[in-house]
Symmetry: C2
Subunit: 180 residues, 2 copies
């Protein structure tokens, strides 16, 4: 299949839910894509494609939706998967990173021994919105000595300008929405 | 590789963390298995093996750790994946199910249109402990008309007797611990 054909197919599988999580927001619901066998396979392949020759050591993804494509890309690329989790979930020694939300702050954790010095790391999430969560994940990976060779998203909401705070990275998005 | 050899390899990749989440508990930490490329591949294959000829329509897994092996098994079996989530996370019309914890109750949700009447469903999670979460997931799938053909776990803590409340299902666990 051609890239454009794959994009069209995936776009059709994403459900638009109006006024979720609050009035005026159009939520891109990927559960309709995940439950379709071809949608699941094509999206994982398209997200992995640019990184197949990059000798990735581990894929990193954040709880919960980053787990979905994170593990799929780890299998596509034949490498391991490292989870980023909410506080108190990881049992061994952790490092943590705070990040800013629309109102207040939140915190994420990684196991301190999850990334080895010099490891090549691919960061993965389903959606690039403002980029705050992904920035916090990248900061932790770099504090542990990881070498981030790219970030792969299924969907980018370009109008939220999440790329701005991730400008130093090689960002790949399969599907881009330019407006609500 | 022989089954026993795979089991030995996977057991070695699981880290035992003492006194987590509380004193006296030995936590089986699978993050050390997930970050190992061979561990990730072998565990997904072993969890899928008994169900390859069952014509599974969708795999169902619960937030968050059920997402990890849920999507991997969906790819192994060439089918779709349906997430069970905590309340308020799914954007479209949902059904919900309460279940009992050690203290109090908790609730899970699924999209009301996620399972079609008569669909063959494989339920997946990383760990079978008391079985309460899995029972709530199975109840929702059956309320939506799904036909549960099996449940696949990576790890079973047999001493917690989680099988008792899932007795009517075909349960497959790759690794079984008979005591703390």
């Amino acid at each position: 299949m051609m890239t454009l054909e794959i994009e069209q197919k995936l776009l059709k599988l994403i459900r638009h839910v109006h006024d979720f999580p609050k009035k005026g927001i159009v939520f891109r619901d990927i559960t309709t894509l995940l439950s379709d066998a071809e949608g699941l396979a094509l999206s994982a392949e398209a997200m992995a494609d640019p990184f197949r020759e990059k000798n990735i050591d581990v894929v990193v993804g954040a709880e919960s939706r980053g787990f979905v494509f994170g593990v799929l890309l780890a299998r596509e690329l034949g490498c391991g998967f490292v989870p980023v989790r909410k506080p108190g979930k990881l049992p061994a020694k952790t490092i943590s990173q705070e990040y800013t939300l629309e109102y207040g702050t939140d915190k994420l954790e990684m196991h301190a021994d999850a990334i080895k010095e010099g490891h090549t790391v691919l960061m993965v999430d389903d959606l690039l919105a403002t980029g705050g969560t992904m920035k916090a994940c990248c900061d932790m990976v770099e504090r542990l000595g990881g070498n981030i060779v790219g970030i792969s998203f299924l969907i980018e909401l370009a109008f939220l300008k999440g790329r701005d705070q991730l400008a130093k990275y090689d960002i790949h998005s399969v599907l881009t929405y330019d407006s609500e």
